[in-house]
């Protein structure tokens, strides 16, 4: 087994690309860093760091307010970022792109605006067994508020959506299917188009949690057939604290505002307030302009790499990681669906994932251990937690080798 460590894998030259990410150059615990926790958050390229820095140094002003030059410039940068997100999603219109604090807030927006006003007692919301808590709890809350019922679609032993059971669960009372595009805990890529067609045939809408898809797959919300699509900037090489809800314009226009405040109104009087147009109706208060600009820069960075090339590169890494991990004594993969993103979740017989995480960390290898905010997934596979290595554009075969080597230390410590 002699993988090419230094030359390009797939069509991306990950080794050269690492120079774009300053943090990857720092040592951790005296060792070079092998960063394999990209599903938790990604590192940021210079293009993003510099875009945010430039905004605060050169263009900082409040948006949509002033007639002065700086405010106009800040507004232009902000709307330019919105257009970059529209391109990333291949969305029909920029006004369908609503800036939020992240995927979690995007889902809560749909739950508290659309669902809270649309759901009636006895209506159903369908989620899947592989959802992140952020795509479970908002629906539990709104179901409690409206008397609607939350249903859960099962997953197979491989961690794929159970496509035999699914059609039976989407019935005449189903108003919404809320599903993850790529599972953060298992890596499973869900057949969004197929689920969209099933949902639409029954008159239900489809919300897609795209947090783990946005950095890895070429997205096209129209081809996917989604009605709502949520993402977070920080998982796609952008800043923390900013994300997006995309929704079809006609749905967003019909929805009541969620939060009230400045910027989301046209006029305010005690006789009655007139709400603003999209997207501002859903962007109350001063937005995270610097964050949005950073997200725009991240979208352009990924576009520059080419999402098809990113996917090809990460598929090779996934294949290599899956093969190498199979060599580790007592290791069992959790999540072996046919369509997978570059996430390998696993347990090692007799050793708790937390101990594995600490031991590989001592070797400079950063992985995530725990339930990954997906406790129902852990329960499904009868494990308290897993170790998760999640790969990104800058990871190499060598990073995978470092992980496998560090896992060798686990048996040394416990022998």
């Amino acid at each position: 087994m002699s993988p090419p460590h230094t030359v390009s894998v797939g069509a991306l030259n990950a080794t050269r690309l690492r120079a774009d990410f300053p943090l990857l150059g720092r040592p951790v615990r005296g060792k070079p860093l092998a960063y394999l926790d990209n599903a938790a958050t990604t590192q940021k390229p210079l293009a993003v760091l510099e875009a945010v820095d430039r905004y605060y140094r050169e263009h900082n002003a409040n948006v949509h307010r002033g007639v002065h030059w700086l405010s106009e410039r800040a507004t232009e940068d902000f709307e330019h970022a919105r257009a970059a997100v529209r391109d990333h999603l291949n969305a029909p219109e920029a006004r369908e792109v609503i800036f939020t604090r992240g995927t979690t807030e995007s889902i809560n927006l749909v739950a508290q605006s659309w669902a809270r006003s649309a759901l009636r007692p006895g209506d159903e919301v369908l989620i899947t067994r592989m959802e992140h808590h952020s795509n479970i709890v908002p629906w539990q809350m709104v179901c409690a508020q409206t008397g609607a019922e939350l249903k859960v679609a099962p997953i197979t032993d491989a961690g794929a959506l159970d496509l035999e059971a699914l059609p039976r669960l989407i019935g005449p009372r189903t108003r919404l299917v809320a599903m993850v595009h790529v599972s953060n805990a298992l890596g499973t890529i869900n057949p969004v188009r197929r689920v969209a067609d099933l949902a639409h045939a029954r008159g239900a809408l489809l919300l897609v949690d795209g947090a783990q898809a946005a950095p890895h797959l070429a997205l096209d919300v129209r081809a996917l057939g989604a009605d709502f699509y949520a993402l977070s900037a920080h998982k796609m090489y952008g800043p923390m604290g900013i994300g997006v809800l995309w929704g079809r314009a006609e749905l967003l226009e019909a929805m009541p505002p969620w939060q009230g405040g400045g910027d989301m109104i046209k006029s305010v009087s005690f006789a009655g307030t007139v709400y603003n147009d999209l997207p501002y109706k859903f962007e109350a208060g001063t937005p995270d302009v610097g964050g949005a600009i950073g997200l725009g820069a991240a979208c352009r960075y990924l576009r520059g790499l080419g999402l098809d090339r990113v996917h090809a590169h990460e598929s090779l890494l996934l294949e290599y990681a899956t093969r190498r991990l199979a060599e580790v004594e007592g290791l069992r993969l959790i999540g072996t669906a046919r369509d997978k993103s570059a996430v390998v979740s696993f347990v090692i017989a007799g050793v708790h994932p937390h101990d594995v995480g600490t031991i590989v960390d001592a070797e400079g290898v950063a992985v995530r251990t725990g339930h990954h905010c997906a406790m129902p997934v852990m329960e499904r596979f009868s494990v308290p937690a897993t170790v998760r290595a999640s790969l990104g554009v800058y990871n190499t075969f060598e990073d995978v080798d470092r992980l496998v080597q560090a896992l060798g230390r686990v048996h040394e410590v416990f022998s």
Partner: protein, 148 residues
């Protein structure tokens, strides 16, 4: 490996591999569940009292090596202790783990093995879980304790 050996000392590895008092008690006087949401560790601690001291103590559950070894060492140590001494020991161990004090090696005895944990902030809650659960059992907490 030197740093890791400071965390995973031989005593810890041994108590994880073969935890002491790892079973259920028949008719315990007190019982509590502990849960560490971060890593999914779950422990049940059961007690039998005799006058003002712990006559018997046992634990069950699943967790990482640090939480299992800490629970095992704890049960070994507090069996037969007066309740006031148990509470004093709880404070001493808590202070050691959180770095609030260096702890007295004479009081700590074998519990010294937990000293390395303080250098790993993410793991401190693993080691304190059993101790919090023990106190909850003594105080008759109705709900499971959480390290959060």
């Amino acid at each position: 490996m030197n740093d890791l050996r400071d965390l995973y000392r031989d005593v810890i590895v041994d108590h994880n591999r073969a935890p002491r008092n790892f079973h259920r008690l028949e008719a315990p006087d007190h019982e509590a569940q502990g849960f560490n949401a971060l890593c999914g560790d779950k422990l049940t601690v059961q007690l039998k009292l005799d006058g003002g001291r712990i006559a018997d103590v046992a634990f069950e559950g699943s967790g990482c090596a640090i939480s299992v070894a800490s629970a095992s060492l704890m049960t070994e140590r507090v069996k037969g202790l007066e309740l006031a001494a148990v509470r004093a020991l709880h404070s001493e161990v808590h202070a050691l783990l959180t770095g609030a004090s260096d702890g007295d090696p004479r009081t700590l005895g074998k519990l010294e093995a937990l000293r390395g944990v303080r250098e790993y902030p993410a793991r401190v809650k693993c080691a304190t879980l059993a101790w919090h659960t023990l106190l909850a059992a003594l105080d008759g907490a109705a709900r499971p304790v959480s390290t959060e």
